[in-house]
Subunit: 98 residues, 2 copies
DNA sequence: TTATTATATGAACATCAATTCATATTTCAA
DNA sequence: TTGAAATATGAATTGATGTTCATATAATAA
């Protein structure tokens, strides 16, 4: 059913998948999937260093997978939209079935 | 809606996404998405070297994303199941929307 | 067996990206 | 304006992986 996308589309798909294919980033995305969270909260829940989380958040931000809101000294991150959840769900189901 | 999967599940998700996040492998998967194809046919359609295609096919096989059938000197590859298509579709839509 | 076609594989290389460490920046309170 | 808390960033390192090259294996036909 799917025609083969042209190379530039496949390039973009590769980029998106590359960003999704990292343990720390996956955990971050799940952590903020319910509700926005501050960097500190994310650091606690993910269990990685503050620096690493910040680096990875930057990557997610650049790819428009998360959105940002500042409140005083705190910065809150949330998933950009529901596409991300849909992607996580498909992957989750592939992994957990059979 | 998604509870946070435990680390081993996230590990498996990371692995699957890693395998999907490569230009050559994406092209291969699309190439055989309609119908099984021999390695030679895949090489022609993908436009990569025979060696590279064979290496990547091995990776896809190891991850159970493709199945194999031998017929004389030819080896035919096909997508293992429809999960793979579902994954490709979600990613494609994310990339092409907006 | 020999030759030929199809496919697979091991080694080497080169690039990229995840992580850490140290430090900078921002914001606000005292 | 000094200090502290929260977040961001640059550099360095280390490990993983995509690609190529050369060669091996498998299958068949002559």
């Amino acid at each position: 059913m799917p025609l083969i996308p042209n190379d530039s589309i496949i390039d973009e798909m590769e980029s998106l998948l590359n960003i999704a294919s990292d343990f720390t980033r996956l955990k971050i995305m799940y952590t903020i999937s319910e509700d926005e969270k501050s960097v500190n909260e994310i650091v606690s829940e993910v269990g990685a260093s503050q620096s690493l989380v910040s680096h990875q958040l930057k990557i997610l931000r650049k790819a428009n997978l998360v959105s940002t809101r500042r409140e005083g000294t705190h910065v809150f991150y949330a998933l950009a939209d529901d596409h991300v959840i849909a992607l996580l769900n498909v992957v989750y189901e592939h992994v957990t079935e059979e």
